[in-house]
């Protein structure tokens, strides 16, 4: 798998840095400018740190794109006898593998972001919740934290790394808290939100790995320089995980606002379709994402406002590319199986709904069951407790909305 960045490579270390330093070394810390970034951040007041995060326009990279500054402010203002920061490294969205690459290539960057976040919101302890299958990263994460502790003596909070046990739902923030607390990873009802009542019912700041990597860059460069990348609507760069029928699947770094087609065809990125294949569709944002047709991919830019026009979103940054020989209703079946297996089973619309969707796709054709599928999808979207049930049918509906991708009789 390739791990090259594009022309604007910041989250991923460039070739020079990779060859000159090992990921867990002081030299890497210095080459990345992280020692200075940490000193700068820890020299700031909480208030000015939060202001800088707000000025940066960073939105969460875990899927929901919530403004990071608002979360920081809310945790900071919330009352609690202790506060926590959590790095969400559960990365289980199908087609998404960028957090793994980031943690393998440069664990110091997101962990420096975690240390800064702890300072920024006044947390007493930091946690990393690591996907069970990423256990090879357990010890590097601990080592990276120790290295940061040596670089910044006496100021870092304690870190605990917790390993997941193979449940997609444990990546949902409140299910993740339950898991850390030793309970079943069932999502909680919101409100109360994590910023007010999170881990151990205390105010908690939870961020995706990539969001925290951006935080570290922000405090290294300052908000103005941070905003020099990306679009006005969405400053910064994004790690995309590209899989499917392209020449060079892998993780790439692109600025927000780049034409979508350029990500698929760029020489620095996926380098176009595999021999003989024509682009049919892209599943954007993972299993809970949306299908875009080749024509839409040709027009869209990779940014939240533009993708909204197609009812799509960036989600986790996954792009799964399908060629003309791929049968998308079969892909929809695979996705339905995934959700039926990964539902926590807590609420009726999702526990039973995901199974009924799966069965309908297995037993009937899309055109036969189109209205029943839409009917059930609406119940699941409206009435499920968490994002899993609410978005389990997003990809399916996006497919139904694009008959050119499945209704060959037309």
């Amino acid at each position: 798998m390739s791990q090259q960045g594009g022309a604007q490579q910041r989250l991923l270390p460039n070739q020079e840095i990779v060859t000159q330093s090992s990921p867990l070394s002081f030299q890497r810390l210095q080459l990345r400018g992280l020692n200075l970034a940490l000193e700068r951040a820890f020299g700031m007041t909480t208030k000015s740190m939060i202001q800088e995060v707000q000025d940066s326009g960073i939105v969460g990279r875990g899927g929901a794109a919530f403004p990071a500054g608002l979360k920081w402010l809310s945790v900071n203002e919330a009352a609690g006898h202790s506060k926590y920061v959590v790095m969400n490294a559960d990365e289980s969205e199908p087609g998404t593998f960028k957090d793994r690459v980031l943690l393998e290539l440069d664990p110091l960057l997101p962990l420096a972001g975690l240390a800064m976040a702890a300072h920024g919101v006044g947390a007493h302890k930091a946690y990393v919740y690591l996907r069970g299958e990423y256990r090879h990263l357990f010890s590097p994460i601990q080592q990276a934290w120790e290295l940061l502790e040596r670089a910044m003596p006496q100021v870092l909070v304690p870190l605990e790394v917790r390993l997941g046990a193979g449940a997609y739902i444990a990546g949902e923030e409140t299910a993740l808290f339950n898991s850390i607390e030793g309970k079943r990873p069932e999502p909680r009802l919101k409100p109360p939100f994590p910023t007010v009542q999170g881990l151990f019912l205390q105010p908690t700041l939870i961020h995706n790995v990539e969001t925290l990597a951006n935080i570290a860059l922000l405090f290294r460069d300052g908000a103005d320089r941070f905003r020099a990348y990306g679009s006005t609507a969405t400053p910064g760069t994004k790690l995309v995980s590209i899989s499917g029928r392209v020449n060079r699947p892998g993780v790439y770094e692109v600025p927000f606002g780049i034409p979508l087609l350029e990500i698929l065809e760029g020489v620095d990125t996926a380098q176009g379709m595999q021999g003989g294949q024509h682009l049919q569709a892209v599943l954007l944002g993972g299993a809970a994402g949306s299908f875009l047709t080749a024509a839409e991919v040709g027009e869209a830019t990779y940014d939240y406002p533009d993708l909204r026009r197609y009812g799509a979103s960036i989600g986790s940054g996954a792009l799964v590319v399908f060629g003309q020989s791929d049968v998308l209703p079969e892909v929809a079946q695979t996705l339905a199986q995934f959700f039926a297996e990964e539902s926590c089973g807590q609420c009726v619309p999702c526990r039973i709904g995901t199974v009924r969707i799966k069965e309908m796709l297995e037993q009937f054709s899309l055109s036969e069951k189109q209205s029943d599928l839409r009917d059930l999808a609406q119940t699941m979207r409206d009435a499920s407790i968490c994002g899993l049930g609410q978005s389990a049918t997003t990809a399916l509906i996006s497919l139904l909305d694009r008959p050119v991708l499945w209704n060959w009789g037309l």
Binding site: G345, V348, P349, A383
Partner: protein, 288 residues
């Protein structure tokens, strides 16, 4: 305006003022709108898992569960919009696609009020499974379970604090488990029957009632209830003795009772046979 400990909100176009901390469901009732529920129980923390109580809250992307969501200043709520009715109908249809004609009045009402088509999603897996009859006091028929979490809560922090049962498995396979599917006798269960008391379906049922139902002898209309106080210890739990044909067939306790709040221990709930044995004096005198 947010004043004192009151919140002002609009429910189906009507402005109401209710105490802060009131669940939407109760606020709706004050406004004359009854909200359907299945998993909710007066004595237990709302689990909000059935989703039958969803209402539309302006500004919210999804519907919200009225049993758990507390009132907030300025909320605008719709309790019977098309979206709400659609979701409730879907929930009734989904439940009826897995449990055989459930004897749950609330579910039947939900079917009535939403015009649910009971056969709509009946084409796949169901919960059909044998009844578990592994002890003398109550049976478990999980083919009727709607996974409302009431039994788990009653066994856990909301009443009994025994934690003998919990949900295990995921997705459609999620089910009530004693831990590695042990028989109840081998589990941590202390047979207080509090889970049976709160179960809204026939999934948990006292063995006596179940046996009488099997033989067609259970007749709800002939049952008379006598109020008394448990004679086993000094706590003073109120008991309702359910009597059918001169025999005690079931013991419950009123939820309104200040001591029990509806919950009992194994002696109060199941230790009643001595009352109706012909003569037990010989048993006592022969004890060593």
């Amino acid at each position: 305006m947010e004043t004192g400990d009151f919140r002002q909100l609009t429910i189906d176009g009507e402005v109401c003022r209710v105490a802060a901390g009131t669940p939407l469901k109760d606020a709706c009732l004050l406004a004359g709108k009854e909200i359907p529920t299945l998993c909710w129980h007066e004595r237990l923390t709302p689990a909000s898992t059935c989703r039958a109580c969803v209402v539309e809250l302006e500004g919210s992307r999804t519907l919200v569960s009225a049993c758990s969501r507390l009132v907030e200043e300025g909320m605008v709520v719709h309790t019977d919009s098309p979206r709400v009715l659609h979701a409730r109908r879907g929930i009734a249809e989904l439940l009826l696609s897995v449990v055989e004609d459930a004897q749950v009045p609330e579910l039947q009402e939900l079917v009535q009020s939403t015009g649910a088509d009971v056969a709509h999603f009946r084409f796949g897996a169901t919960l059909a499974q044998p009844t578990r009859d592994d002890n003398d006091l109550y049976i478990r028929d999980y083919s009727q379970c709607i996974l409302c979490y009431r039994c788990v809560e009653a066994c856990g922090e909301d009443a009994q604090n025994t934690f003998a049962i919990h949900v295990a498995g995921r997705g459609f396979g999620a089910h009530i488990d004693t831990g590695f599917d042990r028989s109840l006798v081998d589990s941590d269960c202390v047979f207080c029957g509090n889970c049976v008391q709160v179960c809204p379906t026939g999934a948990l049922m006292d063995k006596t009632e179940w046996t009488l139902r099997q033989t067609g002898e259970w007749d709800e209309s002939c049952i008379q209830v006598s109020e008394t106080t448990c004679s086993y210890c000094g706590v003073g739990c109120a008991l309702d003795l359910h009597v059918l044909n001169q025999r005690i067939v079931k013991v419950t306790s009123p939820y309104s009772h200040p001591v029990t709040q509806g919950m009992l221990c194994v002696k109060g709930r199941y230790g009643y046979e001595y009352v109706q044995r012909p003569d037990t004096s010989s048993v006592h005198s022969s004890a060593p």
